[in-house]
Symmetry: D2
């Protein structure tokens, strides 16, 4: 399955979050799961358990820096396309159906 | 923590989802977690592990009816207000700050 | 259509948001649109234009208090059930399908 | 501001959405707004009005193929970093803070 993770600290005194999000990014990068960082969240690919273990780690790491954290996990799961590789194939299928290359 | 669960089946032939969502609602109602059903998702209150166990049950139950499921979990977690009761207090605080009662 | 609005200020120095969200709640309450406040967002019912006008007002009001705002708008739109009343009927249909009353 | 758009048709008989999403992708590609397609949604950069005009076009285009559509718009807006270019800079800042390059 694919899951987009978004981890937002609240009450951080500073509107810039990249310092706080860097620790989360390093956890995801070191997790062994395939992932893609975007400007509004990071998509990871894997099974339910390892993804949720990673999400919890990210959430708890952020809670150490900020007393309130809002975490959103958006899952897209297909039994007929178990992966791996959907993290790439999904955009390729879209480009093929659109008949053009798209900005990634 | 509070978590809003939204479970959406894709490719269901029918635009009405209440039949499919009823099994999910029954799981949440039987979970022992406090919850509130809304028109765009259900908010549950509890700790990370029981909430994620419930989310997985809901997601897998829906996967038995539909080969593709999109599940969104939105978490609001505060170390200084661990609950229980935030599921009610949060709206009460908002009403108090607004100086009026709001439609719930 | 139904739309859930969630307006989150970033970098607010304080983890409690009810003071800042009260102004948003008052805008929604005064909008003339039917709505329901929940612990993870407010659902409004109406047409695209008035809902988006209200969403913009809420977003810009929050931007006056906080230099960074994350706003999420989740829309559920059915051509065969144009409303009004879906904000209530959707939960009623779910209860009927589940064969029990649910906590709201 | 940045906005992630996700347009999901319900009751489509088919779990594969790339054919239906291709028309949406073409609208975004032709909009003149900078954008990045990801596996869980597309991020666009611009002002409120053109982004919401585009979101409405995408939503209504999907409604022509499917009688029920769920559209999610997630906005990140900063008065101190009005853009353009945040769609790229945000990930670059994260990489810099993490001290490593990340998979995009």
């Amino acid at each position: 399955m694919l899951a987009e993770l978004e981890i937002i600290p609240i009450g951080t005194k500073n509107a810039s979050l990249s310092g706080l999000l860097a620790d989360v990014a390093k956890l995801i990068d070191a997790s062994g799961l395939d992932y893609r960082v975007g400007s509004m969240g990071t998509v990871v690919e894997g099974e339910w358990e390892p993804i949720m273990r990673l999400a919890k780690q990210c959430h708890e790491t952020m809670l150490q820096s900020s007393g309130r954290v809002m975490t959103t996990i958006r899952i897209d799961d297909r039994t007929d396309k178990p992966g791996p590789g959907r993290i790439v194939h999904k955009v390729q299928s879209l480009e093929q159906a659109a008949g053009r290359s798209l900005k990634r």
